[in-house]
């Protein structure tokens, strides 16, 4: 069984700061991490390989420094890592990103065997769009299974896969066909700690690096900024609100003082809270 995991190296958003004067992102020194949602996808891929044998290929598109995250993914036990890196890919929106990734997955199929399952995380923590997985599935004609919480069964002979997927108001149990793309819901598994031998292998492993040409991109105008239908016209900091909070002092009976103050300022709340606590 061949499994491809699409992964992204992202800035650790908890540590992003905005320059107070220029309102630009201060990138220097912000550490990069594997997109946390992708860890669930990697773990799910490794579990499938454990059950059915085969290989796990990790794919990422990004700057040359994304090699660090790929090497990290190898320490968990993935078999190989492909870095899609080229200045032509820079500035890609989700549509251009799916073109590049889909092209690379086709090439991976030619080189290492066609994948049965392509995994992605639910979304990234920097873009937050959750659009790339569906886009890749559409471009490759894969069955699209998003927000999957559990893989119930895989029948390699029949080529079917049964999954549970989160839907808006419940859980759908679906039977679909491979090849498919699965986006994995967060929190459904716990990432393993890589073995020492995997760590040693990872340290020595060669990361496969493909330019647009290496990956088999035929139309460079579909990549990067040029291939992106969306255009970012303006980046700006949110407007501060005209008024700041009014600070109130509560004295030595803070609970009662707070309730008095709240109901004085928002008289309607007293009856509204009353209704809520009557449990209607």
């Amino acid at each position: 069984m061949h499994i491809v995991v699409c992964m992204k190296q992202v800035p650790d958003s908890a540590q992003i700061r905005v320059h107070p004067v220029t309102n630009t992102i201060m990138r220097q020194g912000v550490p990069t991490i594997i997109n946390p949602y992708d860890l669930f996808a990697i773990e799910e891929a490794l579990r499938l390989r454990q059950k059915f044998g085969g290989a796990v290929t990790i794919l990422t598109m990004g700057p040359p420094s994304a090699e660090d995250s790929l090497r990290k993914a190898l320490t968990f036990g993935a078999d190989r890592a492909v870095l899609l890196t080229d200045r032509f890919f820079a500035g890609a929106d989700t549509l251009a990103t799916t073109y590049a990734l889909a092209t690379a997955i086709r090439k991976i199929g030619v080189e290492f065997g066609p994948p049965h399952v392509v995994f992605t995380g639910k979304q990234t923590i920097d873009g937050d769009t959750a659009q790339v997985g569906p886009g890749v599935a559409k471009r490759l004609g894969l069955m699209q299974l998003t927000y999957v919480s559990h893989i119930d069964n895989v029948d390699l002979e029949a080529g079917t896969i049964d999954v549970e997927r989160r839907s808006e108001g419940g859980v759908q149990k679906l039977r679909s066909k491979m090849p498919c793309l699965i986006s994995v819901l967060e929190g459904v598994n716990e990432m393993r700690i890589g073995s020492l031998s995997d760590a040693l292998t990872a340290a020595r492993a060669t990361i496969i690096k493909w330019s647009a040409q290496d990956a088999g991109v035929e139309d460079i105008t579909k990549c990067g900024l040029r291939g992106s239908p969306t255009i970012v016209k303006r980046v700006f900091a949110p407007k501060p609100r005209a008024e700041k909070a009014q600070f109130i002092e509560l004295g030595d009976k803070p609970g009662d003082a707070f309730v008095d103050e709240l109901f004085k300022r928002r008289p309607k709340l007293e009856s509204e809270l009353g209704q809520l606590t009557r449990g209607y």
């Binding site: 659009q131 808006e168 239908p229 980046v235």
Partner: protein
């Protein structure tokens, strides 16, 4: 989208807007995808009808509701309801194989409708269903899609200006889809205000065939297990919300948030770090990557108020913030601030509220 923000287009490129290619000029009108699962319309769809109405009026075009579902009374009811939320007309694809949401059939229905009737703007809810569908539809149509918008407007040339948070909510960016149609955007539930519902007669409904039979669809639904009500959090739609952040200091102290919430009939929530630390489950997260709330009263305890949190709570009518740091950003957008340790104040609040609201609680026991 975020990748774009990392390498913003040079001003010259954005400024050099070409005239819309001839074949795209036919794209007119604003569409809202009315999300429904088994006859139950998602409130985000009505919120989008409100936003879509404003865009359509600015552009001087129609606002259309797009309903996809089983051929039954429940689907018809959703169509009728869309007129009460301001639709000028509705498009309907009704077929019993659309009973359950599946990507293949819904993508086919939507892309066929777009190709046949050519809207200039297509809005969808950024829900589980909406995200699954929007990504496929945009890729099939090879057009631009802007996710999780917090503001929608049209510029002087009539292009959709879609504003969304970027870099984890530290900045906002305005995104355009200039030379492709339709211009697609998703908006999360509760980001746009709910418009007023005005009873109106049903208007023009244009039906379009699905053009698929069950055998054409690869993915089969084996079963559907609806969530039990008790497991559902009503956080996004609650009138009163109490939430805690890192200032609580320990997972045990989160109990204080739950106690206050249950005393005043509120839903409880938390900021992102508490989910990342595993103190609270992710369905309770408030903010850009969690739920957006619009309560009448929001009490934030020990939450510093990073922009990623702020964008999720700005729709609240009244925000009370409790934090030890008087310079915490939460005080920039809260209405009332109390500079103190939330862990010490919360039990006092619970006690005071329970005293004050107790006559009602007696009513409840009596009834």
């Amino acid at each position: 989208m975020n990748d774009k923000a990392k390498a913003p287009a040079p001003a010259g490129r954005a400024a050099a807007k070409k005239e819309l290619p001839e074949h795209l000029k036919a794209y007119k009108h604003v569409w809202v995808f009315i999300e429904q699962e088994r006859g139950q319309a998602h409130p985000v769809s009505w919120e989008l009808m409100g936003a879509g109405r404003i865009l359509a009026d600015k552009l001087g075009v129609n606002l259309a509701a797009v309903v996809v579902g089983a051929r039954n009374e429940a689907t018809q009811a959703v169509v009728r309801e869309s007129f009460n939320y301001g639709a000028d007309l509705a498009y309907l694809v009704a077929d019993d194989i659309l009973m359950d949401y599946r990507n293949e059939s819904y993508t086919k229905a939507m892309t066929d409708l777009v190709n046949a009737y050519q809207p200039e703007i297509l809005l969808l809810g950024a829900t589980i269903l909406g995200r699954d569908l929007a990504g496929s539809v945009a890729t099939t149509l090879l057009t631009g899609l802007t996710a999780d918008c917090t503001e929608l407007d049209v510029d002087a040339e009539g292009s959709l200006a879609a504003t969304r948070p970027t870099f984890g909510g530290s900045l906002l960016c305005t995104i355009f889809t200039l030379n492709y149609r339709p211009q697609m955007a998703t908006v999360r539930p509760r980001v746009m205000p709910m418009p007023e519902r005005v009873e109106k007669p049903i208007g023009r409904v244009i039906e379009h065939p699905l053009g698929l039979v069950e055998d054409d669809i690869v993915t089969k639904v084996l079963s559907f297990l609806p969530d039990r009500d008790s497991t559902k959090s009503n956080l996004a739609f609650a009138d009163v919300v109490v939430a805690g952040g890192l200032g609580l200091g320990s997972p045990e102290n989160f109990q204080l948030i739950r106690q206050l919430a249950s005393t005043i009939g509120a839903e409880f929530g938390c900021s992102r770090p508490l989910v990342q630390k595993g103190w609270v489950s992710s369905d309770r997260q408030i903010g850009q990557t969690g739920k957006t709330i619009r309560p009448k009263l929001y009490i934030a305890a020990g939450i510093s108020g990073a922009i990623q949190h702020r964008v999720g709570v700005e729709g609240a009518d009244y925000i009370v913030a409790i934090n030890t740091d008087k310079n915490a950003p939460i005080f920039d957008f809260a209405h009332v601030g109390i500079v103190t340790d939330a862990v010490r104040l919360l039990p006092a609040l619970t006690e005071a509220f329970s005293k004050r609201l107790s006559p009602h609680q007696r009513d409840r026991l009596a009834s």
